[in-house]
């Protein structure tokens, strides 16, 4: 008789108060170890690398661009698969025929189901937040300004929890080998349907979890003014409510005692109320130039611009950008400097190019928007240049050369029209005494100089500079002017720009 002496001595009965939480923690630990989502982590990591990490790293290191991808791309890849795995976990007892066996244990069935859902969601969160940490960690090393955006991640985390809850409930209610794929496909279809609803300008569809700030390009928000959390708050409210409603409904079916049923009913009702409130609030959303505004939730403090010190190029006409755009300064300078050096010092020419936030937004059909373009104004004149909405180097197939081409097709034509004029036909032409497409001699001289300067500045064709008929005297004059030395061109412009702009110079007076 020696074995009995090795057994530990129990000092009194276990404390009743600590049994519940301990049991729940132990159950959660077991579920964490036995969870299918754990084995999905390598696949989820691979999908994250493929669909989110690589595109993120191809973009400039701006928090708004990468935060947007963490909400859109990561969730598009994760949510359906996570819902499918959660459905698989939810249908586990039904598939294995152990539902009756676990139904008669001391632990309420709802508590057991919540433990399984919680464990599944924990691993799903590990996958999602782990990916977020990697992307934000690398961005923190690369970024020249700003800090991580928390709201897109909050929406992502809420979407992960809601996907797992929906999938888990579906798997529990309909335990079948088909539950998991059907749930995953349904979530895919729901996400796609949301995109279509948004395209049809349905205001309530703004609640769609992949919607970051409506149709606004990601670089229009969170840089010059704070990130507007209005829409994100409604999305979190909706998703959290959806999760609570679904889990509460599960409890109504599975809970054992009266108190548990009451708790489940309260959770379901509160969840439905929260989800409905989220949808209702999303219906009042309206796009502003710096984000989606929901009047009930909007904090006017978020409308104030963020102070910053710009980074400027060293040139005759300096180009000044927001510090977040520091990496684009060489490209922007290379795009604009050829023309700016031609016109520097001329009357009415800009003394500086200053990057600004888009302040004007026009709604278009199919949820499209149009942002304000570059303008020149002030005294001394300054070019206000919004870069928002442009295809940036690394975005899709956009190269630095393509980015420069975009800039040259926007800024120089505007600058030349303002400085020289000649962008409209004269009155005679409109009255029909001259061919409707033929400008007057004075306007023709303006167009010749514009065409010459556009050629020198590398402005792509069809960018707003009126084309001259090939082989015509005007075309020859433009080529002649463009072939002059830069100093000669500049000297002629200094002497004649005022008269040229006033329409007092004809084609014959050009050098």
């Amino acid at each position: 008789m020696t074995a009995a002496t090795d057994a530990p001595v129990r000092h009194g009965p276990p404390r009743a108060a600590s049994t519940g939480p301990l049991t729940a923690a132990r159950l959660l630990r077991i579920e964490l170890r036995r969870n299918a989502m754990l084995w999905m982590l390598p696949l989820l990591a691979a999908l994250f690398w493929f669909s989110t990490y690589r595109p993120s790293m191809a973009l400039p290191p701006w928090w708004n661009l990468r935060g947007t991808l963490l909400q859109q791309q990561a969730l598009l890849g994760f949510a359906p698969l996570m819902a499918g795995v959660a459905a698989w976990m939810g249908s586990r007892e039904g598939r294995r025929g152990t539902a009756d066996l676990v139904g008669v244990t001391a632990l309420p069935r709802w508590a057991g189901q919540l433990a399984t859902w919680a464990a599944t969601t924990c691993w799903a969160m590990v996958a999602y937040l782990g990916g977020v940490a990697v992307v934000y960690g690398i961005t923190a090393r690369q970024a020249t300004w700003g800090g991580p955006l928390g709201w897109p991640v909050a929406v992502g985390a809420a979407m992960v929890a809601a996907s797992c809850a929906l999938g888990f409930a579906a798997g529990t209610l309909v335990p079948s080998r088909f539950s998991a794929p059907l749930v995953a496909v349904t979530v895919f279809l729901a996400l796609a349907a949301g995109a279509i609803a948004i395209e049809h300008n349905s205001t309530y569809a703004q609640i769609w979890p992949l919607n970051v700030q409506g149709a606004l390009p990601p670089d229009t928000f969170g840089t010059f003014s704070p990130y507007l959390p209005d829409l994100a708050i409604t999305q979190v409210l909706f998703l959290a409510g959806l999760a609570a409603a679904v889990l509460g409904a599960l409890g109504l079916r599975a809970a054992g005692g009266r108190w548990l049923r009451c708790a489940a009913a309260v959770a379901a009702a509160a969840g439905l109320a929260a989800a409905g409130t989220g949808v209702g609030l999303a219906g009042t959303a309206r796009p502003e130039a710096h984000g989606i505004v929901i009047p009930t939730l909007h904090d006017t403090a978020n409308d104030k611009p963020i102070a910053y010190t710009p980074v400027c190029s060293q040139a005759a006409v300096p180009v000044c950008l927001h510090p977040a755009y520091r990496s684009l300064l060489p490209a922007v300078t290379a795009a604009l400097d050829p023309l700016l050096s031609e016109v520097a010092g001329l009357p009415g020419a800009p003394v500086r190019v200053w990057q600004v936030a888009s302040t004007h937004l026009q709604q278009r059909p199919h949820n499209g928007i149009e942002l304000s373009g570059p303008v020149i104004g002030g005294s001394p004149p300054v070019v206000s240049l919004p870069l928002s909405g442009m295809a940036l180097p690394g975005e899709g197939h956009t190269t630095a050369a393509e980015f420069i081409r975009q800039l040259r097709s926007q800024v120089p034509p505007m600058l030349l029209n303002t400085l020289i004029g000649g962008d409209q036909l004269d009155t005679n032409g409109q009255q029909g005494s001259r061919s409707a497409r033929q400008p007057s001699p004075s306007v023709l001289a303006q167009q010749v100089i514009k065409a010459a300067l556009a050629q020198v500045a590398g402005v792509p064709p069809d960018s707003g500079v009126p084309p001259l008929p090939p082989g015509s005297p005007a075309d020859a004059a433009a080529k002649r002017f463009a072939a002059l030395p830069a100093a000669a061109r500049h000297a002629w412009l200094v002497d004649h720009l005022t008269r040229l702009r006033a329409g007092q110079i004809t084609l014959g007076e050009l050098p």
């Binding site: 595109p55 598009l76 294995r96 395209e199 899709g396």
Partner: protein, 222 residues
């Protein structure tokens, strides 16, 4: 008394119960019916019909061009392929493998039947509507996705066969956005692209071959 007599039923049993012994043909049909029932083939067919209805509805509402016009049909095709993959799961496991002489033929027949039903359902669902990529593209994409589902079933087990096509769908959606051109992501290529069709056909052939010969992997506890 020889052991050979044990294999034969007692001669008076059939007449005593009023039943005639089933012929080989009836026994074969019964085997096919039981095999299809064990794979939940009927449920699969019903869900495929539901997918056809969803596709028809989606084609009515969604834009005729753009990413969404490709995304929704592809999702439904991936779902159909996932269903076919899931049906490969055997509820009997090793005993069936040890005793089922006709298993390869039954597996091949079931996969062919369900894949044909999926094609029929989706073609019917997209009839008289604009399907981006056309019927040819749909056939190619569905074939490739089915191959992925069958390969996943062989690798991970029948219950997880849906993971492969849906993970591939995620890759495809990203590739459509990024305008990839590799034929291994066949949905991004035009419907008449030979390279993409060849890749999809290769994957389907590999999947069908593996499932026919080996069946889905048996997973413990399922």
């Amino acid at each position: 008394m020889t052991p050979a007599g044990v294999d034969r039923p007692p001669s008076g049993l059939a007449s005593a119960t009023g039943m005639r012994p089933a012929g080989p043909r009836l026994a074969g049909l019964r085997l096919v019916r039981l095999y299809l029932a064990s794979r939940r083939a009927l449920t699969c067919l019903l869900v495929l019909v539901a997918f056809a209805v969803v596709l028809r509805t989606a084609l009515h509402w969604m834009p005729r061009s753009g990413l969404a016009s490709r995304q929704l049909p592809l999702t439904i095709q991936a779902g159909a392929a996932a269903l076919i993959g899931v049906t490969t799961r055997s509820p009997f496991g090793e005993p069936e493998r040890a005793t089922g002489r006709w298993l390869p033929l039954l597996r091949l027949g079931t996969v062919t039947l369900l894949a044909g039903a999926a094609v029929g359902a989706l073609v019917a669902g997209s009839a008289s509507a604009h399907l981006a990529g056309g019927t040819l593209g749909m056939l190619r994409d569905l074939a490739g996705l089915t191959g992925i589902a069958l390969l996943t079933a062989a690798l991970l087990g029948g219950t997880l066969a849906w993971v492969g096509p849906l993970a591939y769908l995620v890759v495809t959606l990203h590739a459509l956005q990024a305008a990839w051109t590799t034929p291994w992501v066949w949905p991004v290529r035009p419907p008449d692209d030979r390279g993409a069709a060849l890749c999809a056909a290769l994957v389907l052939a590999a999947g069908v071959a593996v499932i026919t010969m080996r069946g889905a992997r048996d997973t413990a506890g399922e």
